[in-house]
Symmetry: D4
Subunit: 217 residues, 8 copies
């Protein structure tokens, strides 16, 4: 394609198909990229899409679906097998869009996902009710805005890696998510590493890498 | 005194005796202030003192004592009655100097203090073993550096106010305590308010105000 | 509810009913939460609501009222007894929305509230005319944007705790309220602790906790 | 001089003699500059000097004096007439070094100075006792660290300009004086402008400019 | 007025009439304030007004005028005498709105104003063509965005005070004017003090104070 | 121990023995902690130790060794089997102390480590010479200061997770490592997550978790 | 022109014709400036224009053209000779608008430009395929958002200067481009200097200066 | 060498010999690197060296010299021809160490250098006296701390590129040079690009690249 250098060797090199970051793409470019990837892979996955982009792409690919919560625009092969197991947890309900981006990304790449939403630190009994699920996961994606304390608590409970995702949820001194990011970077718990603010996709990707290693792929 | 406007009406107006912030005081000034307050109140309390200042003041006031952990330089009337009850908790052992500044300040002003140290979020069973003490306190001072998550967890467990004290403990992106301060300001828990970084004295003061109200003084 | 883990034990544990943070809630979720809490408690209180949310909730709960200044959407049991006494003060008229969020929160939770608005530091005679009211309060909530100096001045006048609420009022180097927050965190006055920017709700909550302790509840 | 382009036309152009910023000057350079200016003007004034620099310059200019509080190293013509009147005020005693730099700078340039030290906002009666002095001044230099609220209060009391000088006094979230600087820049009072942190010299200079205009020089 | 504590003693205390900051005022409040001040003073001056506010106030006060550049909404007594002299200078044409706020504020308060616009540091011959005007002014208001260097250059040319006004003009790393503010606060020139970003009103006010002192008022 | 709540269940819960963060520990505490852990585990591992702490601990545990580059103070059981394989890479030679902390931590926890030092982006042929080692690793720890670009480049080359460790190496606008941290958080490469600045220990810990999953432990 | 001091000597002094920064210009001013420059130079070049400004200017100058990608509004003399050679490279496709501003600016000033787009560090083979073009260029303009690593990599490959242009492309902790700016300022590569965020025009200008020197103009 | 990957192809690839950044190098490493480069090139150049490093290296290479102002430790081949011409200018005398690092770096790489020191914006006649030298230079390195305005002024005077070097000179809100860096990045002048704070070496390197292009090398 003239407007972008498509990285056709990507899947061979990294084990992951190309994914589309929809926000800001020009309409014509978006449609050709979706079509091209669908032709190559038989499925296609886009993040940060809008309703308008959904309407547009659907004209070219009628089987495409759009999830208004996660803003994911995708067509996924039916009956895809999912392996291993990760947990995606959120502190509050407002963090769910980012968590769904992580969970659906991991699922698209073949990972089995358990969701634990709204289990933040101001009422920790909600988290502790699920200790077994946490212990069983190959990796936990912990998503939190505001004070961002959830990954530190989970890090203290489990053996396996925790991917901390700060969100821009909050107001005032949350600094658009920078405060939650700093909380997570400064965690006193071991086994916690951090992604960019609202980067559900990135967390789902790394969780898949770890899950694949755990199941021996 | 020529070099400072001593606020003699302070105790009447606020209910608290004058306290000395020792750091940076000139030697001669420090000694006169300690002597003057001791003469007025029969006791005297200084924060952020050095060993050298201790040596100096002891020449004028031999009964003075110095605590190298909290850096408190004081002479306190014996058999002082203490009322009510607060908890001072820390996330790690490195937060103890600030916590002791808070605890000893509150004790000097007549508050009964329970200490719960090293109960941070990377091993929360250490905190949950003391739920009754937390529930019984009129106020909890929660002291934490690094990611600063402890006050949020305590805020979710208790009915009474939590005074959150960020500390400069940590390294790298802790920004000298600013990260922990932001965590606490953005807390998702209710009932939590925040002091300046390392301000154990301020927290002990407010905890005393609340404790006095609670016991009807 | 599927979309959120409602904390039904909350009132028993903390003494406070659940409150709704309306901003960003999906329409269907908002209505069910309002109905559910109204059924449990016979009253319901939401902050940061919009006119559109008011129109929506009113269809399900016709007795609901909306205050366009504080953005509070509530139905409150008539003839609720209010106890003790706190003051809510503002520096300017632009700080009133945040102050009303604090005052009405405290009132909803059963606190008697005295309002002192537009008494900022550029004309302190307006504050000093009300010294008796300040002295009589169990707690003062001091709300200020711009340079945020009001809590420091009030802290120097009273015996009881001052809850400082920075607001995003101002322009230029106010940094969306961070400047006022820093002013308050660095206060030279004793007895002052700080909430997040524009967090009237949080201040009303803590003031209620302190007021309850003061009246022996 | 080879190492610096001395601005000999400066006094004619601006009405102010050259002054020496001593910190960081090489020893040999410092001594020659002091001697050169003394030869030109019959007096000489240096800021931010050290004891060691005093010892050094005294060998060349035995009449030089050093003030360890303000770190000013100067020889001033005796019986210099001083005109008009300004006030230099501080919030706390720790702000006095910066205030003395301002006051002695203004005096060196021929301004009559009234000092009001330790009159900060946590005990405003100390300031209000001196309302007449404030009202009589052609300009007020208000020096404060920590929360930096003093200039806003003074700005609300007087007709004439207030020069606000933030200091690096404080700890934790004072950010080396940036917090006090932001407070002053965001002041809600009129007539207040701001200098760099700890810039007593700059404030004394501007106050002199204003005072000269006021007395018709 | 119920919604605001009007400071009726303000003019006596400070020598300046009340001025209205229009942005964010509720419609009904705005109109009553304009009417009230017009009744007291026979004239009225508002900053940061919108076209819509102009339409509104004009219904109550038909003689009101609106300047779309400076966003000033005012009625000024005809044939007002103006005294002394100040210069208002800008670096670029985009800084003119802030400069006009300063100039018209000073004029409203009785100051004679000379404007020197678009004389920034990337072409200094434009400034140097007006050295006499700069030298003649009792005070110079220097308005600049982007790198904010103009006040430093002017400070090196004149005897009298320079009021530096940073603007939010620029993009990228201008940080909404913080970069220009830092430039001005760190100026190597003497006689320069700084206001908040875009605070033309504040600069016009201080310039008036200095100009009045200079002409002996 | 009185001064700290030792977490004896830690190894069972997380699979990792307790490790000592030496910096700032009081002498007596440090020695008892080293002895206690050595008694429990037959080996002991401390980070950020000083020469003086080495001298101290050696008196109690003569078999202890100290590495002046990584500041690690340890006694490790001989002939420990190491499994799997990770790579620890650095951009420059000044990043080696942090890299060694990571590498030796991973080795202590039983991981086989390949070191690739001084392979930063200003001469990428040095990195590309080792593509096979990168491809073979279960996890890559990429350590870089200054502009911190190395993890992004490695992330584009490999299938497995990259743990990015920013260092405080650099000067000027490196902001003590914050600039490198921001680079890594904003990476355009997939599979990269980030630790705190200079947190070699944390990176070695997570790399061990991932390596264990990969070898089926 | 009344509203701006046109710098007619500019071309003689600097070798570059006046260019128009369109954003924020008032309609009437914009049209007169375009006409005036077209009359002087026979061509005219504006950056950061909108569709609406295009419509407006086209009425006065029908030959004007608008590029919606770069937002450049220009009329350029046909058959302009272009000399020497520079490369403009981008990390991603979203950086192309800024790159086109740089490339078209350089072309307008007579520079021959080679474009290398979408060659960022997460797939460096795309860059390395063009090593000869990079080596042949007199100057390389390297445009990147997100982690901003591209200029460091290019700096390690070439002999001639690299102009690094950070863009605001990205989200979360990209801080509107500040993160990419810091990456570039802290580069470990030699020969790299940096412009403001999104400042394609500035980069095209400097690249032209260097290219002219290289071809002996 | 074991401790570093020496880039032996560097000179062929980039046209510049390896240079040593001395700060932080271990003693043994420093000496071997100096010896190795001296053997390869017959000369050697190190920046940011200390007196102690000078003493050390002199034992191995007696011909080495040390400049205490620029902290450069070098042996340079005698009678090296220097070509073209650049100017290195500083705002104040405190900026000279950084300027000398730039000037001596450029000279080492074969560039003829004209120095213009202490010509900052608070007295611009000192700069304007040297307009011809500025106009004749192929490149100007402009070094400034505090408000950092000098490069903007020079950028407005010349045809050729200006390399702006912010320094950490200043105090208070200079933020260790970040303020000067922001000033330079936001410059309204064309032809100005920026290096890291205090990066004289980097500026001398780029200036040499440009100068070589200008003389046709």
């Amino acid at each position: 394609m003239k407007f972008a250098k498509i990285d056709t060797a990507r899947k061979a090199r990294t084990g992951f198909a190309e994914v589309v970051f929809c926000a800001g793409k020009e309409d014509a470019h978006l449609v050709s990229i979706f079509k091209r990837i669908f032709e190559m892979d038989g499925e296609v996955f886009g993040t940060r899409a809008s309703e308008a982009q959904y309407a547009l792409v659907r004209q070219a690919l009628p089987q495409i679906t759009f999830d208004p919560v996660s803003k994911i625009l995708k067509y996924e092969k039916p009956d895809k097998e999912r392996i291993g197991g990760i947990v995606v947890a959120t502190a509050g309900t407002a963090d769910i869009p980012v968590a769904e981006e992580a969970a659906q990304t991991a699922e698209y790449f073949g990972t089995r996902v358990e969701r634990l939403y709204d289990v933040g630190v101001s009422g920790l009994h909600r988290l502790f009710d699920h200790k077994e699920k946490l212990a069983a996961a190959n990796c936990i994606v912990a998503v939190a805005g505001m004070e961002g304390a959830l990954p530190s608590v989970i890090g203290g409970l489990v053996k396996n890696p925790v991917i901390a995702v700060p969100t821009s949820v909050g107001y005032g001194a949350n600094l658009g998510g920078i405060s939650a990011l700093l909380t997570m970077i400064n965690t006193c718990a071991n086994g916690v590493t951090v992604t960019n603010i609202d980067n559900g996709y990135g967390a789902g990707y790394v969780a898949t890498q770890i899950n694949r290693l755990a199941v021996g792929q």
